[in-house]
């Protein structure tokens, strides 16, 4: 048997090496099991007088016999049997003996009046141990090895051996729990028996689990589309304010990254890559409780029951235009009939930035000297005075006044979240309510986020026909942002005195004699220096009416509203960082009032005719969005303490402006009619056909409407006769779907040429109103962008669902892409929306879940998700690359490449001293390259560098994303580890561009620069008076920022401890769990240049991601 290990590969190997149950097949273990068997006690002889009766019968018999009253709750005695040793005697003694067997006791309320109650726990420990043995089999009589047999309420237990046998000692009156993966857990009262033969039923629950789909639900086994479901337990595993972040690494096909490390920052989610080129609408549609227009980041993650991720065209087609980039269906928790459950979930955590340290001290001095040495202005420390010409600089150097600005601007951030929820109701009224509070203090001072949530979900059954419900949520948040000081902190020279030594206050000018060099800490001098405060109230009120007049027929009308009010006030005092140049204060207030309405009417009819099951769905959907925006600003506020509140006190008349493309009013409407047929034959053959006729106001007249059909089929192969008896195969299902979805990823009024007003005009001191053209020119011919997706899927479950896998492959072709196309700048405008270009996204997604070890004490399961998406632009107007007019390095569109690609020179290294002759052959204008200059790839071999030498160098799109979740539990401890790898993507690491070759500022310390003595290939030679963009030898400096951003990281590690029931119960707790989570604890990057940075952020230097340590508590009452 030994070689078994070496023959097995893949999931079987995992099973063989990890699953304890399988180990029982091995001879050595078998021997051990037999050893156990030999020590079992012989079965005790039963006294002949004993008989086994139904407890209920017995109690009734005794009531008559003793002319007394014995009351009991029906559930307490139902189905319970007792062994009666004596037929007559002292009633109270006999009651005690019999009730004890089944874990019960009694109380005597008065003479001849007894109440049966649950036994006090103490009685169990007092009872003596009795041996019991037996055998566990499947329904077909085959033995089940490895079944966990435990005395209920204890950890005392054992596994069945290879023949399904078990034996152990149990307290009298104990109940045994039999559990095994893929089978329904059974509890059996011992009741004095010594032999128990148990048959475990297969658990088909996993397949009967209901999955939420667009405008309805289906059983998981009947699913034809590609839908991945994440449940509440997993959502709260990552402590975060945003549930999307909790999906990271858990959903195949979804590429999720946190947008920034700032307090309250959101997440980016892409389902199966980028389809539309215009970035606005690449995110998935979010449907919360059947309503559109909600924002998932406003939801308390603890309120979420499940999130379904709809990926293929057949699942999303019912949402038509809106579903083109996938759909997230979020279902919040609902009330349940029965006992009221109260839960508390809370955590507290600390965060700290990961950001490269900056140059200071001798390291900085060396750079500065080197820069002046290159131009012949420094030869020895005697020249130091000359190289620090700015006021006060040289004095600071001599006094050793070195400052690590990056270190000074950072602080430790904190996060905390508290949620209390309540769940209860009766048969007819079900209520779920919750209150939540989330607070994050950012890793920069004056950056925080406070959110308050309240949710009430009520479902009311009025009669058998009518049901209504109301789902409401109020979210209020307050966010303080700030001008990011990291940019200033990485550019300033590391000299001066940051704090006044006597008062401890921030020195606005760290070098007092230089009143132009402002401290990055300038905004932290007081409450009235810099303020950027947003308050927001979001009210979601969704109501529904459901009418079910006939069996199988239902009509549901959903009316959803989302009302949102935001106020953003900004005040920057004349002494603030952002006003360093102008030294005048600026105050502004922006009010945004957002209304969103969504009215859906859904008619559903289901009918079963023999083996045929048909569900018809028809619906209409209307969406309307209105946004009002007003903005006012003024300069030179009279009193700083007025902040942005009284703009009348600004020195000039308040000016009103339409800022940054936002307009005073933006409105849009959508209307859709859709229908779907689901047909199933014997649960084996499944078909879904849907169609949606969709209209969008923002598209051009005549192009507003389009039709989006889809078809899908599923085949539950494992239900076929030829596989039905294959025991190891629990499920095998093949799915295929094909469909078309639309998208209108343009802003409203994209078909119109709009003007921009500005108050920034005057003649002399006479103000003059002016309008100029927006950079985007209108296109009156815009129409729908369409995506067709072919999806093939396979669902497999093996070994009684112990190993499950889902594999999907797909191909999405998107055409008529709505693209913001750069126009020749000579036309005076810069871009236009057009339907041009096509993309293709092809990919494979795999999710494998394995229950590695399942015993009562120790459980270990793993989920592996793998996402590979190959994205490429297949067609562009005019059949050639589109090189962007602004930031062409990262905004250009390249045929055959992903949308988010980098286009620039390819840096080969640095010209070395030995290559001087070769370097001199390359020229820019009259300039010949020298050692220490950047060495670029000369693509066209003309020995000079221009547009012809720029090319694709990499993309933000990863080659693949892998997530591995391991969840372990041992007794009361649980441990889960989520590891994440994103491989093959490039990032634009901004801090690398902070290399300061003139030495006028610090820059990151890890950057290694060339000198004649240090022949590195990383960064070019320092040179006095230059910036990267100003010296010919730095041509191609743009390429310095772009590095391979591949990383592996331990995203979260959570260790939890659940208080044993015996202790928790004493303080009226249903459950109590304490946990510790570490996030982003360990990161391995492929490129050494970003080793001190978390590349998940994508390279931005503002608000980098953090390491996080969280302590949390879950309580249930």
């Amino acid at each position: 048997m030994q070689p078994l290990y070496t023959h097995l590969t893949g999931p079987f190997a995992r099973r063989a090496t990890t699953a304890a149950s399988l180990l029982l097949y091995l001879p050595a273990v078998e021997a051990h099991a037999q050893l156990l068997a030999t020590v079992q006690l012989p079965a005790q002889q039963q006294p002949t007088t004993a008989r086994t009766v139904q407890l209920k019968e017995l109690l009734g018999q005794w009531e008559k016999q003793y002319n007394t009253t014995i009351v009991y709750k029906t559930d307490l005695v139902r189905d319970k049997t007792a062994v009666v040793q004596a037929e007559t005697g002292n009633l109270e003694e006999m009651l005690a003996t019999v009730l004890q067997q089944v874990g019960l006791g009694f109380q005597k309320l008065r003479a001849d009046y007894y109440v049966v109650v649950k036994a006090a726990p103490a009685t169990a420990s007092a009872s003596k141990a009795v041996p019991i043995a037996g055998r566990v089999t499947q329904a077909n009589g085959v033995a089940l090895p490895g079944v966990t047999v435990v005395v209920k309420g204890t950890t005392n237990g054992i596994s069945t051996d290879a023949n399904g046998n078990f034996s152990l000692e149990v307290p009298e009156g104990a109940t045994l729990t039999f559990s095994f993966v893929g089978y329904v857990t059974q509890e059996v009262a011992v009741n004095g028996q010594t032999t128990l033969n148990i048959t475990l039923k297969e658990d088909t629950k996993a397949l009967d689990e209901v999955v939420v789909v667009g405008y309805g639900t289906v059983r998981k086994r009947d699913l034809t589309g590609s839908i991945y479901s994440v449940k509440a337990d997993d959502i709260v595993k990552t402590p975060t304010h945003n549930a999307v972040e909790a999906l990271q690494g858990r959903v195949p096909g979804a590429d999720i990254t946190r947008a920034s490390g700032a307090a309250g920052a959101g997440t980016n989610i892409l389902i199966r890559g980028t389809r539309s080129i215009n970035g606005a609408n690449n995110g998935p549609l979010v449907v919360i409780d059947g309503y559109q227009g909600g924002n998932i980041s406003d939801l308390n993650p603890n309120d979420i029951e499940s999130i379904e991720v709809l990926k293929d065209a057949s699942s999303t087609a019912i949402y038509g235009a809106l579903g083109a980039n996938g759909v997230l269906i979020v279902t919040t928790k609902r009330g349940a009939a029965g006992k009221v459950q109260v839960n508390y979930n809370g955590y507290y955590g600390v965060n700290s930035y990961q950001f490269p340290a900056s140059r200071t001290g001798d390291d900085y001095l060396a750079l500065r000297r080197e820069a002046w040495r290159t131009t012949g202005d420094w030869s020895s420390p005697a020249d130091d005075a000359k190289i620090f010409p700015e006021p006060g600089e040289y004095d600071a150097v001599r006094n050793g006044q070195w400052v690590d600005w990056v270190d000074l601007v950072k602080r430790r951030g904190t996060q905390q979240s508290h949620t209390v929820s309540l769940r209860g109701g009766s048969e007819n009224t079900k209520v779920f309510a919750s209150l939540g509070y989330f607070r994050e203090e950012g890793m920069l001072r004056n950056n925080d986020y406070n959110r308050y949530n309240a949710r009430v979900n009520v479902d009311q059954t009025i009669s058998k026909v009518f049901k209504i419900g109301l789902l409401t949520q109020v979210t209020f948040y307050q966010q303080n942002n700030r001008q990011n000081p990291l940019g200033q902190a990485t550019q300033l020279s590391p000299l001066g005195v940051p704090y006044d030594p006597t008062t401890g206050e921030v020195n606005t000018y760290p070098i007092a004699s230089d009143q132009t060099r402002i401290s990055p800490l300038a905004d932290e001098r007081g409450p009235y220096v810099a303020r950027d405060n947003t308050i927001r109230t979001n009210i979601v009120t969704n109501g529904y009416l459901e009418v079910t007049p006939l069996k199988g027929l239902s009509f549901r009308s959903n009316f959803g509203t989302n009302i949102d009010f935001r106020r953003r006030g900004i005040y920057n005092d004349r002494t603030a960082l952002s006003q360093a140049n102008t030294r005048n204060s600026v105050a502004s207030t922006e009010n945004i009032f957002d209304r969103f309405y969504n009215w859906d009417n859904i008619l559903t009819y289901s009918r079963e005719l023999g083996k045929h099951t048909v569900t018809l769905t028809g619906l209409t959907s209307f969406i309307r969005s209105d946004v009002d925006n007003s903005y006012a600003s003024g300069t030179n506020q009279l009193l700083a303490s007025q902040l942005f509140y009284d703009l009348n006190s600004t020195s000039t008349a308040v000016t009103r402006t339409l800022r940054g493309g936002s307009a005073p009013y933006v409105g849009s409407k959508n209307m859709a009619y859709a229908a779907r047929i689901n047909y199933s034959f014997a649960g084996r053959y499944l078909f879904t056909v849907s169609g949606r006729y969709d209209g969008a106001s923002r598209l051009a007249e005549g192009n507003k409407w389009d039709f989006f059909p889809s078809v899908a089929a599923g085949w539950n192969i494992s239900d076929e006769a030829f596989l039905r008896d294959t025991r190891w195969l629990s499920q095998l299902k093949l799915r295929a779907s094909y469909g078309k979805a639309g998208n209108y990823s343009i802003s409203p009024y994209g078909t119109q040429s709009v003007l921009l007003a500005s108050p920034r005009m005057s003649f002399g001191d006479v103000p003059a109103q002016m309008y100029q053209f927006q950079p985007t020119v209108g296109n009156p011919n815009l129409g729908w962008e369409t995506s067709t997706t072919l999806n093939l899927g396979l669902d497999v479950a093996l070994f009684s669902n112990r190993l499950t896998a889902t594999v999907d492959v797909y191909n999405t072709n998107t055409s008529d892409i709505l693209l913001l196309r750069p126009l020749p700048l000579s036309s005076g405008v810069s871009q236009v929306y057009e339907n041009i270009g096509s993309t293709r996204n092809r990919g494979v997604e795999v999710a494998i879940t394995s229950q590695n070890i399942v015993t009562e004490k120790f459980k270990w399961s793993s989920t592996l998700t793998f996402t590979r998406n190959k994205e490429e632009i297949t067609r562009l107007i005019d059949g050639r690359d589109i090189i962007a007019s602004s930031a062409p390095e990262s905004n250009s569109l390249l045929l055959g490449r992903p949308i988010n690609s980098f286009y620039t020179y390819e840096k080969l290294g640095i010209w070395q001293t030995s290559e001087a002759d070769e370097a001199a052959k390359y020229k820019i204008g009259n300039y010949s390259f020298k050692p220490g200059d950047i060495k670029l790839a000369d693509l066209n071999g003309d020995f000079t560098f221009n547009a012809a030498d720029q090319a694709y160098i990499g993309s933000r799109v990863p080659k693949f994303v892998v997530g591995l979740q391991n969840t372990l539990s041992y007794r009361s401890f649980d441990l889960s580890v989520l590891a994440l790898a994103r491989y093959g993507q490039f990032i634009d690491a901004q801090f690398l561009g902070r290399y300061n070759p003139s030495g006028s500022g610090n820059g990151p310390a890890i950057l290694d620069y060339w000198t004649p003595e240090n022949p590195t290939n990383d960064f070019p030679r320092p040179r006095r008076g230059t910036t990267l963009s100003s010296y010919q030898g730095y041509t191609g400096y743009q390429a310095l920022n772009f590095v391979d951003g591949s990383f592996f990281k331990i995203r979260t590690v959570t260790l939890g401890y659940t208080l044993p029931k015996s202790i928790a119960g004493k303080v009226l707790l249903e459950n109590a769990r304490l946990y510790v989570t570490g996030a982003n604890l360990f990161i391995l990057t492929k490129s050494k240049l970003i080793k001190d940075y978390d590349p998940e952020r994508g390279g931005d230097e503002s608000s980098p991601l953090s390491r996080q340590l969280v302590v949390g508590l879950n309580l249930g009452f």
Binding site: Q515, L658, P888, S1030
Partner: protein, 579 residues
């Protein structure tokens, strides 16, 4: 029960359908409706287009970018240390279609403005003007501005595309037009403007007025003449002379005149009077003292550009009067400083600052004496407020070691081969100083920028006369300016400053332009106009030996690569030669 429910269901469904039928109207609702068709359809609304057309000139005039584009890269200026982003223009280092921000930004700003001008000019008949004079004044402003922008365009980039229509839909191809076609349009526009613009706009003095159009017409004729040969050139030189002389002849009608004293032009207190009636300016770009009305909160930043460092010297600290020293973009070449006869010509003292007076008391220490290469005898000597604290001069001062103030003389600033020694200290052009800021560290200024002043008419007239062979007439014109420039006290040098016909050469006129206009956003255009091909290179290299990379094709700037990328026929259109 069942029938009741069905009935109800039917009604609900019907109500739903009826309710939704109204929703099928997917018209876009845009009440703010700021489209060109709506906003510019009334006379009051139309003015917002005219105002918009003025906007982008402020990204050139009053900014470092404009100085880099129109003054640097010539014989007059160099930047040694703080070149940062502009070395492509100041030193011709790596001037490529992909690099060189001021150049790339200018391309966008000019075309954006031209599009607004085209839109206004083509739409004015739909704006419902009833008063023809008002209509023609607005059209005059737009046509002045289009000519103004196109002159900058064609002189900077050469014969590129000539667009006269508003961009209403994507325009994806372009063809080059000859330079003469640009000038035909520019001259036509300016003639219309000169005829229709008012003499005076009152408090809105910085709008284009008749003198602006007439003056610019003279400049356009002169520039145009150099693209022609023989009779064609002669024709335009004649037109240039006549146009310039016309402005001079009508100066009182146009409410413009030379200021009596050259230095007064650059007294910050007089700045806001220059553009108003009676001032010397023909056209100004104004900045408001209300900073919120200015282009980008920064207003006029020219006072940064030429300022040397002074604040960390003994006896000195940063003051409003002495300006903002951190940028130090351009320093004068020895050639420029030596062009002036400081004894006779008041334009040197009027233009440059050589002496800084102490603003704080200071006593010399041994360490500072070493740093500033002083004789040990100065240790312990005091500088009192108001004493001389620093001198930076084009002269040589042999006794500088024993002076109790800091001295950087000719040899400290320049090497014997006329290149710059280290660029740390230099004579400062003081024309743009702005002491009316709130703090010395404030970088935003509110002074007006003089785009063109009456003196230029005399130089245009003289240059045209020279080319037409009338050097006597040219001398007469120059002598008007030289008479003003002559120091009158203690010795009157008016006679000594006069030039005669025999002295008039093109290079003398170039020199005279330098003396008159140094720093005034014109030098590069002057040099490129008068120096062709190898002459351009040798003129710059010889007079500004720090510029080593200039080549003959640099007479045109490169077209932004993005433009060629976006054009469907970018390859056919082609980059300017040499790039």
């Amino acid at each position: 029960m069942k029938s009741f429910s069905l009935n109800l269901l039917g009604r609900v469904a019907l109500a739903g359908t009826l309710g939704l039928a109204a929703c099928n109207d997917l018209e876009e609702y845009n009440p703010s409706n700021a489209t060109a068709d709506t906003v510019w359809s009334t006379p009051e609304g139309f003015v917002t287009a005219v105002n918009g057309a003025y906007s982008e000139q402020r990204s050139w005039y009053g900014k470092e970018d404009g100085e880099f584009m129109s003054e640097s890269g010539t014989d007059l200026w160099f930047n040694r240390d703080k070149n940062t982003y502009a070395a492509q223009l100041t030193q011709y280092a790596g001037l490529t279609p992909l690099q060189g921000n001021p150049n790339r930004a200018a391309w966008v700003a000019l075309w954006k403005s031209i599009n607004v001008c085209n839109a206004g000019i083509n739409r004015i008949n739909d704006a419902g003007f009833i008063n023809a004079t008002e209509r023609n004044q607005r059209e005059g402003e737009l046509r002045f501005l289009r000519a103004f922008y196109y002159w900058h365009m064609v002189e900077t980039y050469g014969g590129v595309m000539l667009r006269t229509q508003e961009t209403k839909e994507p325009v994806l191809t372009a063809t080059r037009s000859p330079v003469s076609a640009f000038y035909d349009l520019i001259i036509d526009d300016l003639k219309f403007a000169a005829t229709n613009l008012p003499v005076n706009w009152g408090n809105e003095y910085s709008r284009a007025s008749r003198k602006s159009a007439m003056g610019f017409l003279a400049r356009a004729y002169l520039s145009r003449a150099y693209y022609g040969t023989g009779a064609d050139a002669q024709q335009y030189f004649t037109l240039a002379r006549d146009a310039a002389n016309d402005v001079i002849a009508q100066k009182s009608a146009l409410q413009v005149d030379l200021r009596a004293n050259y230095a007064d032009l650059w007294n910050p207190a007089n700045n806001k009077t220059l553009g108003r009636p009676g001032g010397e300016a023909l056209y100004v770009v104004s900045n408001s003292t209300n900073v919120g009305l200015n282009y980008d909160d920064n207003g006029n930043r020219l006072f940064h550009v030429f300022q040397t460092q002074y604040s960390n010297r003994p006896g000195l600290e940063a003051t409003l009067a002495y300006g903002y020293e951190n940028n130090r973009r351009l320093m004068p070449t020895l050639t420029l400083l030596d062009l002036y006869d400081q004894v006779r010509d008041n334009r040197y003292d009027g233009s440059f600052q050589e002496v800084w007076l102490a603003t704080r008391t200071y006593t010399w220490t041994a360490a500072d004496a070493t740093t500033y290469a002083k004789d040990a005898s100065v240790v312990g000597r005091q500088i009192r407020v108001g004493d001389t604290a620093m001198v930076i001069t084009k002269r040589a001062i042999p006794t500088k070691r024993t002076k109790n103030y800091v001295v950087y003389d000719r040899d400290d600033v320049y090497l014997p081969n006329r290149t710059i020694r280290n660029g740390l200290n230099f004579v400062t052009l003081r024309k743009f100083q702005d002491p009316d800021r709130t703090l010395p560290s404030v970088q935003a200024g509110t002074k007006d920028v003089i785009v063109m002043r009456l003196a230029e008419m005399y130089l245009i007239s003289a240059e045209a006369e020279n080319r037409l062979g009338n050097n006597a007439a040219a001398a007469t014109m120059l002598n008007v300016l030289r008479t003003r420039a002559a120091k009158k006290t203690p010795v009157d040098y008016t006679a000594a400053m006069q030039v005669t016909a025999s002295q008039i050469t093109p290079d003398f006129i170039l020199d005279e332009r330098a003396r008159e206009f140094a720093g005034e956003n014109i030098r590069w255009f002057d040099v490129k106009r008068m120096k062709d091909g190898p002459g351009f290179v040798s003129y710059i290299k010889q007079r500004n030996p720090d510029i080593t990379l200039v080549q003959d094709f640099h007479r045109l700037r490169p077209i932004r690569q993005e433009e060629l990328n976006a054009l469907l026929n970018g390859n056919d259109f082609g980059q300017n030669p040499g790039y």
